[in-house]
Structures are given as structure tokens and as C-alpha cells.
């Protein structure tokens, strides 16, 4: 069943999927094109029975940004990872909340941390940071201040 999963996916989704890489411990890592997000989500849920979305994450690769989804299927008892690349300036992707309601908070946190805008999200507002916060902490450009700046060092006792 695991072996022909990549073939099944590329057969079903065709050009929307760039590649299905091998990922140990899961059925595979499906790299899909960002514009075809909604159809990929719906087909994953309906055709491949991945009814449980457990995680949405964003990675800032400085020149581009990546969003990855981890799905679980009770029928197949296995995970699959969907991942897509978005341009660095004003990245946009369709929200997965209509297909999996559980994605609501995950997407709010990903927007807050890595500044990826999810279209048609019910209420995309701050979740972990105070409401007026303008920065996006998990971008590589956001530098943590060095510990030494915080306190005067006591030298040579």
C-alpha cells in the first residue's frame, strides 16, 4: 500500500504535484504547487482519506518561504507531508480551514510567526503575541538580542 502511494497521488493530481519524495516514517512528502492548494487539500481529504490535519508550519528560507502540512489518515494509519514553496515578498496561499476546521489556530500562528497570509481564513488575527505586535519573530531577519545586552556583567569579583 505504501509503495504505490506516490504513483496514486501523481495519477490523481497530475500537474498540481511537482514531486512525491520519500520521507522515512511517513507515506511521503508531496510537493504541490501553491495555486492548486484547495484541490490538493480536498482530494487528500476525500480521495485519500486523510481526515485529520495535525500540523501546519512555515519555514523562512530567506529567498523563499515554505508551508508544510502534516496529515493523518485513520484508514491508512500513516502520515503524509504536503509542502509548497511561496515567494519571499507577500506570500499568499489558500487557507485549509474550510477543509479541516482544525487548521484554524495553526494558520493563525503560522501567519503570526512567519508572515504567510492565508486567504479566506475565518479570523486571521494574533494568537500568541499581543494584538498590536508588528514583527514576525520566526523570520531569519528577526534577530534575538544578545543575552549580554540585558544585564551589566559583574567582572572580577
Amino acid at each position: 500500500m505504501e509503495a504505490e502511494f506516490p504513483a496514486l497521488v501523481s495519477a490523481r493530481l497530475g500537474d498540481r504535484v511537482a514531486a512525491v519524495e520519500v520521507f522515512p516514517g511517513t507515506l511521503g512528502r508531496v510537493r504541490f504547487r501553491a495555486e492548486a492548494a484547495l484541490d490538493v487539500f480536498r482530494s487528500m481529504r476525500d480521495d485519500f482519506a486523510f481526515d485529520h490535519l495535525s500540523m501546519v508550519g512555515g519555514i523562512d528560507w530567506v529567498d523563499h518561504r515554505e508551508v508544510f502540512y502534516v496529515l493523518w489518515s485513520d484508514a491508512r494509519r500513516a502520515y503524509v507531508i504536503l509542502s509548497t514553496d511561496l515567494p519571499a515578498e507577500n506570500p499568499h496561499i489558500e487557507s485549509a480551514t474550510p477543509t479541516w476546521p482544525g487548521a484554524n489556530w495553526h494558520e493563525r500562528e503560522t501567519w503570526e510567526m512567519v508572515d504567510i497570509h492565508f486567504d479566506h481564513h475565518p479570523d486571521l488575527r494574533h494568537l500568541l503575541m499581543p494584538d498590536g505586535y508588528v514583527f514576525h519573530p520566526l523570520l531569519r531577519s528577526f534577530k534575538l538580542h544578545e543575552p549580554e545586552e540585558l544585564e551589566v556583567k559583574t567582572r572580577n569579583v
Partner: protein, 260 residues
Amino acid sequence: MAAEGVRKEPKSADNPILWVARPMATAARQFGKSLIRPSTIVYPFERLEDPQFREEVAVAAGKPIGVGAVWDNYRGVHALNVATCISCNLCAFSCPDLCIDMVTVPGGDPKHPKKCPEIDYGKCSYCGFCSDACPEGCLTMTTRYELSTAKRSEMVYSPAKLYEVFQRKLPMNPVRIELPENEDAILLDPPLCIGCNACSRDCPTQCITMIDIPKVGPKPGEKPAKRIWKEPVINDSDCVRCGTCISVCPKECLFWGSRT
């Protein structure tokens, strides 16, 4: 209600009087058990690390279980044996919270001041990485846990204070962790080395010796070079891999590598 894994739960009785009978009976039984000796350890006078609690302790009222070898491996306030410390900075490098500073210890020859770790207990998270990384085993963690002060600055323990804790001979952390054998060693890139002797001077365990290296002899007819070239040779068994020589070398010709 009884699913596959769940046992049949004791249903509450139907008649109202028994609604409360069983829980009250349980509370009464507990009352009887802890009437004479409840499970409380009266802290300022009795302490959990007293030997009397090793076997018999009313930790669970009614059935003494004893605390066993609980305190042999405890990570509390550090004890530093300043005498054996070779100031190799390994503890300062390995601390994730950057709360260890290498501070000169008064006394000793002023030209080569001896530096020992000074720990700020307001930042230390007692993870024990420093005592694991200490090659000489002179920085160990004791079972002392009380540390509360009114002034924040009193939380910074100088090497002298840590030595005091060491002298009090509190039971220290006997469990030495299992170090995987690691083939990394410090290698030399010969053409870059100018033989300035900085590494062998600063090596905390003095395991670098400078040896004469016969440079290519002078071409016939030229005067033999006045300078005798020297190169460091590192004795791997003594080296504690503290990386001081790498950071001290002006030409950066020493680097991590593997001999095999």
C-alpha cells in the same frame, strides 16, 4: 459503558443514603491511617535527604515505601575544587544559559592569572551540562537546594564561595556519565604555522610540545637560516579537547579533525 480496555467501574448505589457512603468511608479510612503519622515531612526539622527516609518513610501513609537512592544523583548547587581546576573554559562553553563566567581567582602569580568559573544562580537552570563537560571532574553538583536571597547580586557565586560548598563535603553527584569515544582531535595545518608557541603556552593541560622542524636546508651558497622552525605536537591522550589552542592561534592553523 464498558469498552474494550476499561474495566466495569463501581457504579454509585441507587438508594440516596449510599450515594455518599463509599466516598465518606474512603475518606474515613484515610483519616484513620494518617491520624498518628501523616505523610507530611515537617520540612525545617525533618528533611527528605535524611538517611532515616531512605528505607522507611511515611511517604505514603500506612505503607512506608522509602525514598531509596533518590539523592545520589541530585543536581543542586555546584561544588568547585579550585585546586584541581585547570581553567579550560569547557564548563563556560557547554552552559546553554551562558551563566558561567571565567573569573580570575585572587592569589597565584599575577603574570598568569588563574581563571575559575563563577556561576550566576539567577540564570543557571541546573542542567548539569557543565559538570558533565568538566574533564577533571572538579565541578560537581551537590544535594544543596536552598538558595533564596533578598538581594539579586548575592546569587552570583564566586569561585571562593563554590570552593566553600566543596569543603562542606555534601554528597556529590557520583554518577559519571558515559562519554562515547570520539575520534575528533586537533590537527595542524603545517604551512600556516609560524611556530609562535602561543598554543603550547596557553594549553591548560600542557599537552602541546614544540619540536624543531628541519626546514628545507639553505640552497648551496646561502647562509643557513638563523631561525629554527618549531611546530606544535599534540599529545592526544592528555588533550581534553578544550579548543583553547584553536582560539589562541594567531594564524588559525589548528582545526578539528580526525586522526583515523
